[in-house]
Subunit: 251 residues, 4 copies
C-alpha cells in the first residue's frame, strides 16, 4: 500500500494535524512524523548541534524533538522503509502567503520532501481561530487525490491556503504575492526595565495583484501555488554578466 | 555617509564577521547587528515566541539574542535611523551552495534585507578550516563596490562563495545547482542506550552542470549567484491550470 | 474548599502526574499547574530571561512554558486566589534519593512551595519503567492526609520515594544519604567527528547507612525524608570562627 | 603544582570571571571551565537530554555548552587529570543571599565541587552594576588562601558575598537568612495581546536577624556562610516519627 507521510510545524498534538490525518484516511497507509512542540516560524531549520530522538507514540505515529525539516529528513532516511507517495504538511493554524512563506515551517517541510523527489504539499487554514480545519481538510484531500493521480512537475511543491468561507470549492492556481507587515515589532520591558522587542502582530500590506495567493484568499478562493526549489533569478544571471564589468575587476 | 549593515549566522564573536568588517572599511559607516551565538542552519527563522534584547556592545556594534533574520528585521525597523545602502551577511565558515542555500542563516539574512528593498549579499568561505576569510573579504569588497555602483535587479540578492585557492580572482556568474548529501544522518546512543540521530556530515553528491555554483567552486572559481524572493514555479502555474481538471473538482 | 496544588517536572502530559491527581481525588479542589514538557534535572531553575505563558488547557489545569519552580511561583502569585493547603509534586518517573535530590525539578517544586509557607511534598516512584504510579499514588494519598491533619515543621518539606515492591506499606522516616554515580559520563561523536560528553547512566554507589533514604528504598521500604530550606552548616559557622584567624586577615 | 578550578554562571566571557582569575594568580595552576553563555538562575541543573561539547579556547581555558554544574562534572571526570585543590565559582554579578542561594548557578557549581570532595567557594559581588569585581577578587583571594591552608569541614562549601563599600575588610561568618521578593512577577503582553509573566525585579523583604548573610551585607560586611550538602531536617525526623502515627497507617 502506498505511504502518505504527514508532518506539520504546530506540533504533534495540534488539532490541524489530526484533521489532516482524518481527511486523507483511506488514501494509503498514513504515517505521522511530527515535532514534539510548536515550531512556527522555524523556516527550513535543520538541527545539527545536537542529536534527535524519535519516539513512536502510537502505531505509525512518531514524535521528534526537532523541526519539521528534521522530521522529514529522519522520516525518509531512517524511519520509513520505502519512499512515500505523498508528503502532506499541515494543516497550519493560519495562512502561509506571500513573503511569509519563506519563514514557514509548514512550507519548509514540503520543500524538504521535494528535495527527496517526493510529491509534497503544504496546507494552511487562513483566517483567525477557531480555524476551519474540517473545511481545509476536505479541500486538502481533493488536491491530494489530484497529485496522486497526475503527479507534480519536477522539483515543484504545492502551497495550499484554504480560507474559512470558501464557497462552492472555488479554487485558483496562483503565484506567490508580496505581503509585508507594518508595525510588526512591539516593544516591551523586562522586570529590570530593559527594552525588549517582540516580533509579531502588525498589519499586513497586501499585494493587490489579482493572480497572487494573497489576493485569491482575500476573495475567499482556495489558493494553490506551485513553488520551486530553484531560487536562481535566471534573468539576473544575464543582467550581472552584461552590466558588471567583471573583466576589469579581474585584471 | 551611507550605511553598510553587516550580520552573519556564526555569531557576533566569529572571525568571519571581523574579516568582513575590516574588508569593507572605508565604504561607508559600518554597523554590525549580529546574533549572540552560533545560528548555523537556522534558515529564515524568526523568533516570535519570546521578546528579543538588543545590546550595544561597542559603538555601532549590536548583539541580539536571536537569529540572523531577527537581526536584520530589528536593525531596519528599530535600530537604524536610515535605510542601509548595502547589507552584507557573512563571512560564513563554510560553503552555501546548491540545496544547502535553503537551510542557510547567512543567505536568509540577505533574503530578509532584500524584502526591505536593501541591496544584499551573502558571502561564504568554502573549503575546510582554517577558512581563508582574508581572501574572501577581499573578493567581497570588490563585489560590494560593484553593487553600490550598479545596484541589483529588483527583489534579487547575491550569494557569493569564495574558494580558498581562487587564482587571479576568477569569477563566474552561476545558477543554483543541486547538492544532496549521502550518509548525512549518524546514529548515536544516549547513556540509557536509546538511539538518537545526529544530522550532519556525509558526502555531498555534486551537481556536475558547468553553469552551477556547485561546479564553479569545485573548479576554484568564485561563484556569484543572483537569487530571487519569488518561489513561484511560473511554468508550473500553467501546467496545473491545464492538467488538473479543477472544473470537475468544483462541480 | 481547600486547594491542592499539583505540579511535576516530567511535564503536564506525563502519566505520573495523572496518577497523582487521581490518587488524591476528594481531598480538596485539585489544581494542576505543570510544565509543557520534560524538565528533568532542571533543579530549582527560575526562568528570568524571557516571559512565561500560562495556558488553561482544561478546567483547573494550567500549562506553563517554564520550569517546575516557575509553575509554583506563578501559581501562588498569579493564578490561584487563595493559598493552597498542600502542594504535591510528582509522581516522578524514577527515584530522587541522596545527592540526586539536589538536581531534581520534582523536589525543587516542593522547596519553592515551602518558601511560600505551603506544606509541600515531592513524590517519586523508584525502580525502572514501567513505574508503579498506582502504588506510589496510594502511598502519596496516605501521607497527604497525614500532612493535612498534622501539618509539617516550619520551613520543612517531605521527600517521598516509593519502591515498586513495597510490601504491607512499610514506611521509614529517613535522612538524606549519599548517592554518587560511577561512569556517568559517556563519550559520543558528532557527525564531524568531534567528541561530545553525555551525562547520565552509570552505576550508583549507594550509601549503606541504615537510616538513609537510599538504604530504605533498597530494602523495599517507602522512604520519607523531611528536608529543610536552611543550607547553613551551623557547626561549620563555629568551626570557621574558631579556626580561621580572621582578625589577622583584617589587620 | 596544585590546580585551582574556576567556573561561573555568567558565562566564560564575563568580567567577573576574568577578575577572579587575575585575583588568584600565583596560587596554583589556574584552569577555567565555564559555560559558553549566561546561566543565571539555572540552579543545580544538569544537562542530560543532549551531549555537551568542550572547547579549549585558550590554554587551560575550556568553554562548555552547558550549565555551571555540567562544567564542574565534566571538568573533574573528563578534563582534569588530577583533583583540584580548590574550586572557585564566580565572581557573580550580584548577590547570592538568603533564599536566592537555592536558585544560584554560582553556588550550585560549588555544591557540585563539594560532592566530589573538592574544597569549594562561591563568590558574589553584591550591589548594582558596575560591580566592584576588583574588591571582591581581593577578598576572594584572602579566603582562598585560608581554605588552602586550613581546609573546610567535610561536605561543606563557602558562600561569600562581597559588598561594594566593605571598609577595612570587615568580615562576618554568617548563617543563611531569608530573603523573599515582593512584586517580583511582571505582566507583559505579546504582539497578539496574550498576557505573559516575567519573573524578576521586585523588592526584597530582608531578614533582619543580625547573624544572617542578608543582614551582614546590608551593614557592608563581607559575608561568609558555610553551607552543607545534607538537606535533612534532623529534628524533623524525630518530629515525624513521634507525631505521625505511622503504625496506624501501616495496619
Amino acid at each position: 500500500m502506498q505511504i502518505l507521510l504527514i508532518t506539520n510545524d504546530d506540533g504533534i498534538h495540534s488539532s490541524g494535524l489530526m484533521a489532516l490525518k482524518q481527511a486523507v484516511e483511506g488514501l494509503g497507509r498514513i504515517i505521522v512524523i511530527a515535532p514534539d512542540r510548536d515550531n512556527s516560524a522555524v523556516s527550513h531549520s535543520l538541527t545539527m548541534d545536537r542529536p534527535l530522538k524519535v519516539t513512536e507514540i502510537h502505531h505509525d505515529t512518531y514524535m521528534v524533538n526537532g523541526t519539521p525539516t528534521d522530521c522529514v529528513a529522519l522520516g525518509i532516511k531512517k524511519i520509513l522503509n520505502s519512499k512515500p507517495a505523498l508528503l502532506l504538511s499541515g494543516i497550519n493554524a493560519g495562512a502561509n502567503l506571500g513573503d511569509d512563506i519563506s519563514y514557514s515551517g509548514t512550507v519548509s517541510a514540503a520543500i524538504e520532501g521535494t528535495m527527496y523527489s517526493i510529491p509534497s504539499m503544504a496546507i494552511s487554514a487562513t483566517g483567525d481561530p477557531p480555524y476551519d480545519f474540517h473545511g481545509a481538510g476536505k479541500a486538502a484531500r481533493m488536491i491530494a487525490e489530484k497529485i496522486l493521480e497526475n503527479g507534480l512537475p519536477d522539483n515543484t511543491l504545492v502551497n495550499m491556503n484554504v480560507p474559512p468561507r470558501h464557497k462552492q470549492n472555488r479554487i485558483k492556481i496562483t503565484r506567490q504575492g508580496r505581503r509585508l507587515w507594518k508595525d510588526s515589532i512591539h516593544e516591551t520591558r523586562d522586570p529590570r526595565g530593559w527594552t525588549h522587542y517582540w516580533i509579531g502582530g502588525g498589519t499586513p500590506i497586501h499585494d493587490s495583484n489579482r493572480d497572487t495567493d494573497v489576493h485569491a484568499v482575500r476573495e475567499d478562493f482556495i489558493s494553490i501555488t506551485p513553488l520551486q526549489l530553484d531560487l536562481t533569478n535566471h534573468t539576473g544571471v544575464d543582467f550581472l554578466k552584461k552590466h558588471w564589468d567583471l573583466k576589469s575587476v579581474l585584471d
